[in-house]
């Protein structure tokens, strides 16, 4: 089963990388960009009996390692 885990910074957490990218886009003349927040994407192949079990395994993965829950949120998607 293929899944995608998306880790994003919680709102209110300063994201200097996002800010730098935002500035770079504006200097490249890309218009209309109001703000940029940078996150991470993990494409994971996982073996599980069903989607629910896979989701539970991936939540465990996020909480144990993939996300730092002090400053990050995570979401799991199946494609």
């Amino acid at each position: 089963m293929k899944a995608r885990v998306i880790v994003t910074l919680k709102s209110g957490v300063l994201d200097p990388q996002g800010k730098a990218i935002e500035g770079a886009l504006s200097s490249l003349g890309v218009s209309g960009v109001a703000s940029v927040r940078q996150g991470k994407v993990f494409d994971i192949e996982i073996e599980a009996a069903d989607r629910e079990k896979a989701a539970a395994q991936l939540s465990a993965a996020c909480e144990k390692l993939l996300a730092n829950l002090i400053v990050e949120n995570y979401a799991v998607e199946f494609n």
């Binding site: 957490v13 300063l14 200097p16 990388q17 800010k19 730098a20 144990k64 390692l65 993939l66 730092n68 002090i70 400053v71």
Partner: protein
């Protein structure tokens, strides 16, 4: 005093930490590989050195914090054993949950490598007894992710319990503005655990032990540790 320095793939300050322990503390530390299950017997102090463990992959300190030896380090800290994390070691301690908060990217995005003054916020700890309260020290800093952040409740708690170990300041001890190199909340350069037996800090006291390389302000930390009464629980109530 028996000490151990943990070596992770990508650590690069373990020799500096060992040298400071040897030259100032008179202790020859054991070097312990991250994949070990046990610390050497009767260790009093565990040092997590600076560097770039696992190339800072995922988040700095994240993967090292889950290394096998960290279970033993947690157990050691739980027994009241001393743990010192410098720079990447501080990041590892936060990721491992041994210290609160997280070290985020420096606010101005730059890796900062320079001398930096810090103020000793408390001398009531096993790490800082050799200093004077409020003493201004010159340490070296070298990090890209030293911007200490925690939720408001945690910061309030750290302040109320006197657990801020060091604050960034200028040469006169003044706090704020350009004296803060990375945007760290409340100018925090280092924090203690609840029982004051775990210290994490971004600056490198282990590099300031020899006048030849810029100063000796780091010696006090290792002198404090060496003077620890063996077997005594290093817990200091708030004063």
């Amino acid at each position: 005093m028996r000490a151990a320095v943990v070596l992770f793939p990508g650590s690069n300050r373990e020799t500096d930490a060992a040298r400071a322990l040897r030259q100032v503390g008179g202790v020859e530390p054991a070097i312990v590989w991250h994949d070990e299950r046990e610390l050497p017997p009767a260790v009093d102090l565990v040092v997590l050195p600076g560097g770039f463990s696992y190339g800072d992959y995922l988040r700095c300190g994240a993967i090292a914090a889950r290394a096998r030896i960290m279970e033993a380090v947690k157990a050691h800290a739980g027994r009241g054993g001393l743990v010192l994390g410098v720079c990447n070691g501080f990041q590892i301690l936060c990721e491992a949950g041994l210290l609160p908060g997280v070290l985020m990217r420096n606010a101005d995005m730059r890796f900062v490598c320079r001398m930096q003054h810090v103020r000793v916020e408390t001398t009531q700890s096993a790490f800082t007894r050799a200093y004077r309260p409020g003493q201004v020290l010159k340490f070296a800093i070298a990090h890209g992710e030293g911007n200490y952040e925690a939720d408001e409740e945690t910061i309030t708690r750290l302040e109320e319990e006197g657990r801020v170990a060091f604050r960034y300041c200028d040469a006169k001890g003044r706090i704020g503005g350009a004296a803060n190199p990375n945007g760290s909340t409340h100018d925090i350069a280092g924090v203690y655990s609840e029982d004051f037996n775990v210290l994490g800090l971004m600056p490198h006291p282990e590099n300031l032990i020899d006048p030849l390389v810029g100063g000796v302000d780091g010696r006090g930390l290792f002198e404090s540790l060496a003077a620890c009464e063996l077997g005594a629980t290093p817990i200091f109530p708030n004063v």
